[in-house]
């Protein structure tokens, strides 16, 4: 396909900046999302994810930069973008005293749907989000968190949007409810573009085509899981379950392999043992020597050793670590 015939991206962001008082929430973010893509937006708390999503939804203006959503320039026609997108805000606030069906009807009318199309769309979104008739007649205030989240997602899909922006759609949901959200996205894959922010990395890993990792208002990584694995963790990962002093373990391992690094500063507790993740440039062949050395050590008891493929969590920690250390609480570079 030639450059002239190439379809316009659904989202095109160039050098987007936003400050709240002295805090720089976004420091020149640039990315684009194509039609039908499912993109995960990751980042630690305060990274600027929600700010970016709110700008793209036309809720708040950016201070500088360019942003085009569904071909609409946000700087010029901020309000117009709301006709093309579905947006689920963080915490999904809903009016408690309305019934699900009443709320969806109200939202559909606000989004310009009417008559038979309104009825048909409500029926479709109730089906997509697995909201059976009995639930749709209930008051929103009496619904569980999972069902409330489904109502929010149903609302975002009402006007057949080309882009759906979901801010933390699976936060606080049990695995069954999260699976419903995943299923919904799978069902619409290719037709609708999704941009979702989440802290649940396994969720993003399972359903997103591509990830964008944001830290302190800057994009620190972007690409598919494979690309990120190649870029950030081209090293071999050893997962060691052991009881013993962290410094002792680290010292023993580094005496054999100087390139070996502890990925997380604080090891995870797993059934009374601590789980350490080390990365090395030496490859898998060093594993045997490490195990032997650790087994010889009296103060260290090894209960598990595994050579692991780096997951999104490892990539996430890697990608955000350097950036995290470089900034103060106002998101400014430390001198």
């Amino acid at each position: 396909m030639s450059a002239e015939n190439k379809p316009l991206p659904i989202i095109e962001v160039v050098n987007l900046k936003k400050s709240f008082g002295r805090i720089q929430a976004l420091k020149g973010v640039s990315f684009s999302i194509g039609k039908g893509e499912i993109v995960g937006f990751l980042g630690p708390n305060g990274a600027g994810k929600s700010t970016t999503l709110r700008i793209l939804s036309g809720l708040i203006p950016a201070d500088a930069g360019e942003a085009k959503v569904c071909g609409v320039d946000l700087a010029q026609e901020e309000g117009l973008v709301r006709n093309h997108i579905g947006y689920l805000p963080e915490n999904n606030p809903l009016p408690e005293d309305l019934r699900v069906i009443e709320y969806l009807r109200f939202r559909a009318l606000l989004k310009g749907l009417e008559g038979s199309r309104l009825k048909e769309r409500i029926k479709v979104v109730l089906d997509i989000c697995d909201l059976e008739r009995k639930i749709s007649e209930r008051k929103i205030g009496n619904l569980s968190k999972g069902y409330r989240q489904r109502v929010g997602i149903a609302d975002s899909l009402l006007a057949e949007p080309r882009l759906v922006i979901l801010d933390e759609p699976t936060i606080g949901l049990d695995p069954h409810q999260s699976a419903v959200t995943r299923k919904m996205m799978e069902r619409l894959r290719g037709e609708v573009s999704f941009l979702l922010s989440s802290h649940i990395l396994s969720e993003v890993e399972a359903c997103c085509d591509r990830m964008i990792i944001l830290s302190h208002g800057q994009i620190v990584a972007e690409g598919s899981l494979y690309e990120l694995q190649k870029r950030f963790v081209n090293k071999t990962i050893f997962q060691i379950d052991a009881s013993g002093n962290k410094i002792d373990i680290q010292k023993r391992i580094r005496s054999i392999d100087r390139t070996c690094e502890l990925i997380q500063d604080d090891p995870v507790e797993v059934s009374g043992k601590r789980r350490y993740n080390f990365s090395t440039e030496q490859g898998e062949q060093i594993a045997e020597r490490i195990i032997r050395t650790l087994l010889e050590e009296k103060n260290i008891r090894i209960s598990g050793f595994q050579i692991r493929r780096p997951d999104l969590e490892t990539i996430f920690l890697r990608a955000t670590k350097k950036n995290w250390e470089k900034h103060d609480f106002l998101n400014r570079n430390k001198i």
Binding site: L59, I60, Y87, P89, L94, P95, E102, L109, L110
Partner: protein, 259 residues
């Protein structure tokens, strides 16, 4: 315009499913009915110079600090508490449409209560035509003037309530603020009652100028004219300006919250 009607319908619906508005309306209308009956019974012994219908309008006006907070307190405060304002703005709705829709919804509810209150003299004239006409309840100009007076003051009072609701997340605080502002405004009008300088207007532009920039505190002095069917343009303009002022303030506040 379509989103205005949608918000208006939603607001009226929300008011109809809220128990607090029913409780407030019931007590308000009951007390008003008792007061009206007492007034009609003792009317001949009082030195009330205006038509008896005006007593009901005065009752509605001075009772509004107790009624309007219940109608307006939830409109933005509740949205802010629940965070649904952000959800509302994710649809193609402007702040101005939202404020106007909510204000009009509350105003319609106020109109319903006022209409129910105005049914008292209407019932009287249907059931007892002779006594009704003796009391002047059959004079259409009294009805037009009094109703118009009630509408313009109701509109500005509701706008004050909507503004109060937009500046806090707490419904109780919004209600108390509306009560305080309305009581203060009515008190100022009561204290300045009878102090009106007799202006003579020679041109319509002078009248308009007084309506826009003139005194806002002589509203009660004008009631005498309205109650006998004499419509005072400057009072109408005063209240329209006041309504617009508070609606603009509410819009600015909502825009500010959104950013």
């Amino acid at each position: 315009m379509k989103s205005f009607y949608t918000i208006l319908r939603y607001e009226i619906f929300a008011l109809f499913i809220s128990p607090s508005t029913y409780v407030a309306a019931f007590y308000f209308l009951s007390l008003l009915a008792i007061g009206f009956r007492f007034f009609i019974e003792t009317f001949t012994n009082t030195d009330w110079l205006l038509p008896p219908l005006s007593s009901l309008v005065v009752g509605l006006l001075f009772g509004s600090p107790a009624l309007i907070p219940f109608i307006t307190m939830r409109c933005f405060a509740e949205e802010r508490r629940l965070g649904t304002l952000e959800t509302l703005f994710s649809a193609p709705v402007s702040s101005w449409t939202l404020v106007l829709g909510k204000w009009f919804g509350c105003f319609v509810f106020f109109l319903i209560i006022s209409t129910l209150a105005l049914c008292y003299p209407l019932l009287l004239i249907i059931m007892f035509p002779e006594q009704g006409s003796n009391l002047g309840f059959n004079e259409i100009e009294n009805w037009i003037g009094s109703t118009l007076y009630l509408l313009i003051f109701g509109a500005s009072f509701i706008a004050i309530g909507v503004f109060s609701s937009s500046i806090t997340k707490n419904q109780m605080v919004a209600g108390m603020l509306t009560f305080t502002l309305l009581t203060a405004y009515l008190s100022i009008m009561v204290f300045s009652f009878g102090n009106e300088t007799s202006n003579t207007y020679y041109t319509i532009s002078q009248k308009l100028s007084d309506g826009l920039f003139g005194t806002y505190i002589n509203g009660l002095d004008k009631f005498g004219q309205f109650s006998v069917g004499l419509i005072d343009l400057s009072t109408i303009l005063n209240q329209l300006v006041l309504t617009s002022f508070f609606l603009i303030l509410s819009t600015i506040q909502i825009e500010r919250l959104n950013n």
